[in-house]
């Protein structure tokens, strides 16, 4: 492909969560559906492939300082996409705290009411408040969460793929509505789920929602290789991002898939300024709106350095990372940050600024030309098939990116001038789905899992 895809996050107030404190921002924009509808229309005007929202259920103590996840994404997207015609939407849901039949039905409904523009970003959710909300003392172990996610994805894809083309007969004369022989029943008995039956709704215009995966642990990589159409990933270091993309495609090929049919979407936090001075001023303004000590604690947890918090001006070396006393909260963010620190130690404050208050995605701050140059450079180097853009301050950077950066990318022939098709799958350049292929893939996975279980009845999978 000579062009890349662009997804755009609706996260409000922005990746810098403290941005609501800046003058003129609406602190309640995060629950203002009118604002989300407006952002969706702006995104569609710029020919953005899909809007995106991460999600983790549960209310955390951070609400004292800033909003986190709020409205349920599938419900929000059913609303905002009704005002658009081409824009896709990537909603996030937890495989740990949902049942696959219900979620399969809900996402397929979203896919129908949007005319085939929905995607399901499957995540396993480690937040303690989510575990508490669902009656657990702590979140299930990561290895268990990912085994469940893998089984979950297989069940969901099998259910979505239950109806063959031509299953609906619709013959008024005979009264025959559908041919039951062409509707496959799933008979699934696994470690976590028993599902018998079929969905009662036929495939959508893109057959089924696009499947997105976002975890970077060994279990996450296996999940992506087995099932994902799109892998949402973090990258602080170019060489590491190139290697990750190549590894993702290699793993997919090993799993028997066409490596061209798994796309990586690199998360990039974008801050758009008028000049170098304006860029500097805005970074300082946003960092000032951030509680640096709380962010330092977040960095420590993300990297496995403990929960006591770090001095923002302390130095993190590759040695201190490799000797971290705890497993990292996010393997993908750890991998991305480790690659950065391998090139030289960084202070905690630098990490917070480079990743816009967190410890994972890269902050790309610059003028529109500088941002376009950077995205072009990373794309041409083979770091990604596209980018998931996360505005640093959504009230400003969402519109600046679409109005000032996207036209430059279009002029350079790097980004679409118009939508290629009517469904998200077509617009992402993914091949049409063959009826029965997902079911076949899931069946093979089930058979392999049973074989593994029979060969090693007590083996525990290793997870990072």
């Amino acid at each position: 492909m000579n062009t890349f895809h662009l997804n755009l996050s609706l996260m409000t107030p922005g990746h810098f969560r403290g941005a609501w404190r800046l003058p003129g921002r609406d602190p309640l924009a995060w629950v203002d559906v009118g604002r989300y509808r407006e952002l969706a229309r702006i995104a569609e005007g710029a020919k953005i492939h899909a809007i995106f929202l991460g999600d983790s259920p549960g209310l955390g103590t951070a609400i004292a300082e800033h909003p986190e996840s709020g409205l349920e994404p599938t419900i929000l997207f059913a609303d905002v996409l009704a005002g658009t015609k081409h824009l896709g939407a990537i909603a996030t849901s937890s495989s740990t705290y949902n049942s696959p039949y219900n979620l399969a039905r809900r996402y397929l409904a979203l896919d129908h009411v949007t005319g085939g523009r929905a995607a399901f970003n499957i995540v396993t959710t480690f937040a303690p408040q989510a575990a508490a909300a669902f009656g657990y003392g702590t979140a299930p172990e990561k290895a268990d969460r990912y085994r469940r996610a893998d089984e979950f994805a297989g069940v969901v894809l099998s259910l979505w793929d239950g109806w063959d083309d031509g299953a609906i007969v619709g013959d008024p004369a005979s009264g025959r509505f559908a041919d039951p022989a062409r509707i496959g029943r799933l008979e699934h008995v696994g470690e976590f789920f028993r599902v018998s039956g079929a969905l009662s709704v036929p495939p959508s215009p893109q057959r089924r929602p696009v499947l997105v995966q976002a975890g970077g642990s060994p279990g996450g990589l296996e999940l992506a290789a087995n099932w994902a159409d799109v892998v949402f990933t973090a990258g602080q270091d170019l060489d590491e991002a190139v290697a990750f993309r190549a590894d993702t495609k290699r793993r997919a090929a090993q799993a028997g898939r066409d490596p061209g049919q798994i796309l990586t979407s690199l998360g990039v936090i974008v801050l758009v300024g008028d000049s170098d001075h304006d860029v500097r001023r805005r970074i300082d303004e946003l960092v000032d709106s951030t509680d640096v000590h709380a962010a330092a604690t977040g960095v420590a947890i993300q990297l496995g350095l403990g929960t006591d918090g770090l001095d923002p001006d302390s130095l993190i070396t590759i040695e201190s990372l490799d000797a971290a006393p705890h497993p990292p909260a996010s393997a993908g963010f750890f991998r991305s940050t480790r690659a950065l620190i391998a090139a030289g130690p960084r202070t905690v404050r630098e990490l917070i600024t480079r990743s816009a208050g967190g410890a994972g995605h890269r902050l790309l701050a610059g003028t529109p030309e500088q941002i376009a140059d950077d995205l072009e450079h990373w794309f041409r180097a083979g770091a990604a098939d596209g980018f998931t853009i996360m505005p640093a301050d959504t009230a400003v950077d969402f519109e600046r990116f679409t109005a000032q950066v996207v036209p430059l990318l279009q002029e350079r022939g790097l980004f679409q001038q118009d939508y290629a098709g009517t469904t998200l799958r077509e617009n992402l350049g993914l091949a049409p789905l063959v009826p029965g292929a997902d079911r076949q893939r899931a069946g093979n996975q089930r058979a392999a899992a049973h074989q593994r279980a029979a060969a090693h009845p007590t083996a525990e999978e290793e997870e990072g």
Binding site: R21, P23, P57, T74, A78, A82, G83, R105, H112
Partner: protein, 285 residues
Amino acid sequence: MTASPFQLLALQGDLPGRLAAGDPDVVRPLAAFTGHSGAGLVLGEESRPLRYDPAALATALSVRLPRWPVLTVSDGAGDHPYNAARRFLSVDHLTGGRSGVVFRSRGSAPRHTAERISVIRALWNSWPIHSLVADRGTGIYAHTEGIRAIDHQGRDFAVYGALDSPTSIQGEPVSLWYVATAEELDAAHGLVDLVIIDDPALLGRWAASAQDERPGLVASGIAHDDEATAELVPLHSAYELAEAVAGIPTAERVDAAPSLRAVLCLPPRSYDLSSKPLAFGVQHA
């Protein structure tokens, strides 16, 4: 009550699918119906398994039909109450407080359904929207003293913490229970705004209970001596829908009443969580 109660139009047959696809023959008569809404649309009141997720469909419809209240059926199968509470409160936010939830047991024991409803309503009330202060000077976004952990350890559910969406414009969605037994009807007292009854014997039991303690009545296919707040009307075809819509009386009260709760003249409702622990302890500014 008035002689023309509110109509809850339960969309069945191919109507949900046609509305999901935006079929103009079905959407147009509903969209043309502006200026009042003496009726609401009920999604999910069909035989199982459902074809479309009712909440997703309700949301899409509420955009196409912004005057229409939407009510979503919840039978709880495989649906954890935290997920359900969150989804239905999101629908209420997106519709500007024009939504309700019809709870059904579908084989579950009455106490199970009652516990489920209780957990969902507690979650809807766990984070009062007035706690959002967004004080730029201090950096305090929300006063966490007002946020309660529902701390529920019940027979069938364990749910700790608060919901991650604040209360809606109508406080909480209108809650209805389609009761099938006397035990369910008794359990509904004090728990839901309205009960849906299709059995004359249950109607008698409802009528015999104290007027100021019982939930309001939605009558489904039974005579009710003008005591019902609303009537549930099953519709199976575009023709039946058009007929029903044509028969809905105009009501002047609606333009001044933004929420479904107000349209139905239901009192404000909340769930007392004062005995529950603070979700995050006392906030230190």
